[in-house]
């Protein structure tokens, strides 16, 4: 199981070259996140947040869907507990991502470890998984990709706030599909072959059942689908290994 590069485990665990490579690789995906960022800015403006407050939220929270939902239940005065609970529940899907990055993160300590985790987002995670499977374990790659997305995210939400009255896009406009399309494209490099079919199909079906059948809100469809699908895949793998 151990790869040859494990001989010098520390070297190349976090490099500037990796960061540059990650940032470059993320450029295409950041494009897909611009419409989403604009929506955050426009929603924040509609809820009475100032430009500074909008920028601060995007910079510090950096998790789109939880920001949308929290802004949806925004009030005067700001709903501190409700907003925090929203983030906790919706971003729970990020917890298993950190776990899956173990082989990369185990080589880091201190600020690099906990700072890298602070930048963990869906798209950067997917890119890092592809890197790991190619045998590369430079955490700088993920941090570079995530930083590119972060800069883009803060700028786009600021622009959305500034031009809120000028850009009047209806909620269901096709442009907003860009964020979902970006995640669809992420599935392609993650795909490893036919053995992924069972866990993926089951994950999708369980999520649909939880969402449409049982009417559960976020994060339950994601968590039920992801854990159920992955468990089915694991059960099959262990039975085959015996």
């Amino acid at each position: 199981m151990e790869q040859p590069q494990d001989r010098d485990r520390r070297s190349g665990s976090f490099t500037a070259a990796g960061m540059r490579r990650g940032a470059r690789a993320a450029l295409g995906l950041t494009l897909g996140l611009i419409p989403f960022g604009l929506v955050i800015g426009m929603t924040a403006d509609a809820r009475g947040l100032s430009l500074l407050e909008t920028l601060l939220m995007s910079a510090l929270v950096f998790a789109g869907s939880s920001q949308v939902v929290a802004l949806g239940l925004w009030q005067e005065p700001a709903p501190i507990l409700a907003a925090a609970l929203t983030c906790l529940v919706i971003n729970l899907r990020l917890a298993p991502m950190g776990v899956a990055l173990g082989p990369v993160l185990d080589r880091l300590h201190g600020f690099r470890l906990w700072g890298s985790l602070a930048l963990l987002v869906d798209n950067a995670f997917a890119m890092m998984v592809t890197e790991m499977r190619a045998g590369r374990r430079d955490a700088g790659f993920m941090v570079g990709a995530a930083l590119a997305m972060w800069v883009n995210w803060v700028l786009a939400s600021g622009l959305g706030h500034v031009f809120a009255s000028t850009i009047r896009l209806p909620p269901g406009h096709p442009v907003f599909f860009a964020a979902s399309a970006a995640l669809m494209s992420v599935l392609v490099p993650i795909w490893r072959g036919r053995s992924d079919l069972l866990p993926w199909i089951l994950a999708g079906l369980l999520a649909l059942l939880a969402h449409g059948g049982l009417g559960l809100g976020a994060p339950w469809p994601v968590l039920i689908g992801a854990l159920g699908g992955a468990a089915a895949g694991a059960a099959r793998d262990l039975r085959a290994a015996r």
Binding site: L51, L88, L117, A178, A181, A203
Partner: protein, 101 residues
């Protein structure tokens, strides 16, 4: 450019809650060695997370969304250019909605 105290407190609370999600899963696993079944699950988790995230989104968007999702997937699989895949998804959704009336 105002910054109100209650808004700042809410934003900081959101940031802390989100960081707990980001770091919490890994922090637990750094202390506890996972059994073989959990380790096998971890290998399947990345793909399963994204499929489980996308399926309800596409279901809410109806058949034009499924078509647009398929278009993004096919373009990415064929050309491996993310920008192209995103544009294909958005354009397909727009066209299918027009066709649906």
């Amino acid at each position: 450019m105002s910054l109100r105290l209650d808004v700042l407190a809410a934003i900081l609370a959101m940031a802390v809650a989100t960081y707990l999600c980001r770091a919490g899963g890994y922090a637990v696993l750094r202390v506890v060695r996972p059994p073989p079944f959990v380790q096998a699950m971890l290998a399947h988790l990345p793909g399963a997370i994204f499929v489980a995230f996308l399926a309800p989104v596409l279901a809410d968007g109806g058949w034009p969304a499924w078509g647009a999702g398929a278009a993004a997937l096919l373009v990415q699989a064929r050309f491996r250019i993310t920008v192209l895949a995103i544009l294909a998804g958005v354009a397909t959704l727009w066209l299918l909605r027009l066709a649906a009336g």
